[in-house]
């Protein structure tokens, strides 16, 4: 069986990245490098109000004083921040209200990715904000949403048209000095999505951003802000891909969510950035800060992520449970193969009373990859009756990879109930054998078993994404039995 497994393993490591094409879109690009001038130029090109420029410059100056974090279980090649393009936008500026104005090449790109921008073609009722390199190119279904008072637009637009909201909430969850990559993002972010759900409104459709890095040597620094007013509900999805390139590209995004009283926000990610080739060459460095603030009582924020891409993932979608009776959830599948490295998990910060959090993390390591769960559950002194349950499982496929678990439980209240469980094991040979005996080949059996293993997380995704995520896992995994 061993040699057959080796063969299968080889097969999977040879599989090509499906989204690795590059599109010829004419771009407006700033020269490489970072300085106060570049920061100012980004702000100028985007026609931002003065407060944003100040805000960016302050973050930039802070960033200069900070150091790349080294505590994660990651080997990161030194990043030359002067060798990165911080701004690239498609030349043919799309006018957002008409599909006809979008560069046909660009439309073709998104069609190829399976993200049709044409509203007529969208059957599933998902509103999409498509972002290429640094700029939002098209937001669909805006009018439908506007009828309910929902704002779904690019961050650039929001800064200009909803500057009160932006001023009030931008940086309120992830302050500019929060960490190295958040500071960098604040200084140079070029676009992203902005969502505002008014009081009492249940968003009638899934909102979605689709991110794509296209231009060589660019970094992508998008910024997302979601505000859910009292008694509102929204489900938000993001997906990402990038072309295959030999050098590493940087993606340093920031996502902030604010949920007011009884509001509920579901945030789902299917991350499929280019992971690098089978030798570990190239691939995206994915350093992302995502944090939600359950500001109001009875609010709820739920993160679901399926992480299959990127050469390096450094990402801890977190919940600050400030409101009494607020709820935080984190569901994660992280799959690493070849030379990928992932250090991902969550933080649940219990501040309010009767707050609850749930963590379900499923790691899958194959090839020579390293996959770590890192999480913090903190219960502060005044957070009476806090509850947390964490389940972190790791599955190993092959004997050259690593699977690690680093939870931190910091409990300062005696009415807290916190439970963490973790297991690490190999995929069950007896399960594979059982499938074999029923006539299912090993490759399919692994797919079946892995799908069962991650089901609890996948079930959290909206239907359309669940199917995509399952396919993605299958593609990344077929045959990689260790």
């Amino acid at each position: 069986m061993a040699s057959e497994q080796d063969k299968l393993l080889e097969e999977v490591t040879n599989r090509e990245y499906q989204y690795g094409f590059h599109s010829d879109i004419e771009m407006d690009v700033l020269p490489k490098g970072l300085s106060e001038e570049v920061v100012a130029e980004i702000s100028r090109r985007k026609g931002e109000p003065e407060f944003m420029l100040e805000y960016r410059l302050k973050a930039y100056r802070n960033w200069l004083k900070m150091k790349v974090p080294d505590w994660a279980h990651l080997k990161i090649n030194e990043i030359d921040f002067q060798d990165i393009i911080y701004y690239a936008a498609p030349k043919k500026k799309p006018r957002l209200d008409s599909m006809d104005d979008v560069d046909p090449e660009l439309r073709a790109t998104f069609d190829k990715l399976g993200i049709p921008l044409d509203e007529q073609k969208i059957l599933s009722g998902i509103a999409v904000d498509a972002i290429i390199d640094s700029v939002s190119v098209k937001t669909t279904f805006r009018e439908t949403l506007a009828e309910k008072g929902i704002i779904f637009c690019s961050m650039s637009e929001a800064i200009k048209e909803h500057s009160d909201l932006v001023k009030k909430y931008l940086g309120s969850v992830v302050p500019p000095e929060d960490n190295y990559f958040a500071a960098l993002n604040t200084a140079v972010f070029s676009d992203g999505s902005f969502v505002y759900i008014p009081k009492g409104v249940r968003c009638p459709m899934e909102l979605s951003s689709y991110f794509r890095i296209n231009t060589m040597n660019t970094g992508q620094f998008e910024r997302t802000l979601i505000i859910a007013e009292e008694d509102s509900y929204v489900s938000y999805l993001e997906g990402c891909t990038a072309p295959m390139r030999d050098e590493n590209q940087l993606h340093a995004a920031v996502v902030e969510i604010v949920a007011l009283e009884r509001a509920e926000v579901k945030y789902s990610t299917v991350q499929n950035w280019y992971p690098g080739d089978k030798e570990g060459k190239g691939g995206i460095y994915n350093f992302v800060t995502k944090r939600g603030l359950c500001k109001g009582d009875y609010s709820k924020i739920s993160w679901t992520q399926v992480e299959t891409g990127s050469a390096i993932t450094w990402k801890y979608p977190s919940c600050v449970l400030m409101g009494n009776n607020s709820v935080g959830e984190f569901y994660s599948v992280a799959l690493t193969n070849n030379f990928q490295q992932a250090d991902t998990g969550t933080k649940m910060i219990h501040l309010g009373k009767n707050t609850r959090s749930l963590i379900v993390s499923k790691g899958i390591s194959a090839g020579r990859s390293q996959n770590s769960y890192r999480g913090l559950v903190k219960v502060s002194k005044n957070a009476d009756n806090a509850r947390n349950f964490s389940q972190c499982d790791s599955m190993l496929l092959g004997d050259k990879c690593g699977a690690h678990t680093f939870p931190y439980l910091e409990i300062n209240n005696n009415t807290a109930k916190v439970e963490h469980e973790a297991t690490t094991s190999k995929i069950g040979e007896d399960q594979i054998f059982y499938c074999n005996q029923r006539g299912i080949n090993t490759e399919d059996a692994v797919g079946l078993i892995v799908n069962g293993y991650v089901k609890e997380v996948i079930n959290q995704l909206p239907m359309e994404f669940a199917v995509e995520a399952q396919k993605l896992l299958q593609i990344s995994l077929e045959g990689s039995v260790g």
């Binding site: 190993l396 690690h404 939870p407 409990i411 005696n414 109930k417 916190v418 439970e419 690490t424």
Partner: protein
């Protein structure tokens, strides 16, 4: 990294006492000292931000200004004469150390034939190659600045040697007494060698016998050779002014068995660094601990089980009860090396907080580089099981009594692991009394029923 003023203080202290220290130590200890000196000069003590010491900052106490125990030159050893540590009916061989020094008080009973216990100074003459082979080989001066500090100042210590095929029937009890009329800093060193097929049970009882502040930096290395067995018990029972850093480093060869148990029933600040390397196939490792603390006490158990080879098993259980404003911490790192296939490693850490000022930080960690493994860890913080509580009350048992029963049951799962019946009974009784509030929390002599500090001081006047 630049070293701090505090580190430089220790280096200066060392420089000015070096000839005295080296004169009184054996060549092996001095050879290791060279390495330690170099390591400490380069790195100093771990900073508070260091991940490994995140939850315990020892720097406020580790100061060169303290009187160093080595300079006392045995001054307080007569304290042994009036000291009693009687684990009820415990039939054991007893050895004493005072302020880190092996103490030949005449109270030491005769050991069975072939089993050797003594000071480094003495035994390194008889067994130079044993000392050389083991001393400093596990406690790495490069990896922890406190080990470097210890190795820099180490002079003597207790050497336990159980040769091939020898079985030490009775437990060996090593009573570590801290005493003196001024604040003291102590660097203690111990070495335990259990050879092929040999068996021993070793019990460390840590006591304080006067009311001064004691800062202890102790390093114990234990080696269990093929098919050897070592039961190691550490009973910590020191007064609130004690700062105890205990490093316990074990190596296990094929088919060896190690049970290591840590009971902290009273202390000021305790940090245990417990490291075990499973270095031969089929080695079995059980590390457990119970900490029951109150007032401002602090206990941090930092454990690292290193599965270096295939086919080993480890099982770890730590439980803590934090009362008043005490704080507990636990780190349980399990590492499975590449190719350490068919490893089974389990760990769990459970905590009860009794007041809203008590705190616990726990971080279980799995670091796994082999695939054919079964590893798990669990950590809990919480109250007593509500269902069990209801069951007891539905049988007519009062809430208070049910509380005590369940708290005791919680602790009992660790106590249960003790393989010395007299010791087990003693600890069981003590812990139950403790939960019933029948023991004065301030009494520094909860474990062995030794004469209390106050009493001792009046007597010695």
């Amino acid at each position: 990294m630049n070293i701090s003023e505090q580190d430089i203080g220790f280096i200066k202290l060392f420089d000015s006492n070096r000839s005295f220290i080296e004169e009184h130590a054996s060549p092996v200890v001095n050879a290791e000292r060279e390495k330690a000196y170099a390591a400490f000069s380069a790195k100093g003590m771990p900073r508070p931000k260091t991940e490994a010491y995140k939850y315990t900052n020892l720097l406020p106490w580790f100061k060169a200004e303290h009187t160093q125990a080595f300079s006392l030159n045995g001054e307080w050893e007569r304290v042994v004469e009036s000291f009693q540590c009687n684990v009820n009916e415990l039939d054991s061989y007893t050895i004493y150390t005072v302020n880190g020094r092996y103490c030949d008080s005449g109270k030491n009973g005769t050991l069975p034939d072939g089993i050797v216990v003594g000071s480094f100074a003495e035994l390194s003459k008889e067994y130079p190659e044993l000392m050389e082979k083991h001393y400093g080989s596990l406690a790495d001066v490069e990896s922890d600045g406190f080990v470097a500090l210890n190795s820099m100042f180490a002079i003597d210590g207790v050497f336990v040697y159980v040769p091939k095929n020898k079985v030490l029937e009775k437990p060996l009890q090593i009573i570590n007494i801290l005493s003196g009329d001024r604040d003291l800093m102590i660097n203690q060193r111990n070495l335990i060698v259990v050879e092929e097929n040999a068996q021993a049970r070793v019990l460390f009882c840590d006591h304080t016998a006067s009311n001064m502040r004691f800062v202890v930096n102790s390093v114990t290395e234990g080696f269990v050779a093929e098919s050897g067995m070592l039961d190691f018990y550490n009973l910590q029972n020191q007064h609130n002014g004690t700062v105890m850093l205990g490093g316990y480093y074990f190596d296990q060869e094929s088919r060896s068995l190690l049970n290591a148990n840590y009971f902290t029933l009273h202390t000021g600040i305790t940090r245990n660094n417990i490291y075990a390397r499973l270095n031969g196939a089929k080695a079995e490792n059980h590390v457990s601990g119970l900490y029951v603390i109150d007032k401002n006490q602090h206990v941090d158990n930092f454990t690292f089980i290193d599965h270096a080879v295939a086919d080993c098993e480890s099982n770890e259980l730590f439980k803590g009860v934090m009362d008043d404003a005490s704080t507990g911490a636990f780190t349980g790192r399990i590492m499975v090396a590449p190719d350490a296939q068919r490893t089974n490693a389990y760990q769990s850490n459970n905590n009860l907080l009794l007041t809203n000022s008590a705190k616990i930080n726990t971080r279980p960690q799995l670091e796994i580089y082999a695939d054919d493994v079964k590893c798990s860890h669990g950590a809990t913080v919480g109250q007593l099981d509500e269902e069990a509580m209801f069951y007891l009350r539905a049988r007519g048992i009062s809430k208070e009594e049910a509380n005590i029963l369940l708290m005791f049951a919680f602790a009992y799962q660790v106590i249960e692991k003790i393989n010395v019946p007299a010791l087990k009974d003693q600890i069981r009784e003590l812990v139950e009394k403790r939960f019933r509030g029948e023991l004065d929390k301030c009494d520094s002599c909860v474990v062995c029923g030794q004469i209390g500090v106050q009493q001792l001081q009046t007597e010695s006047r």
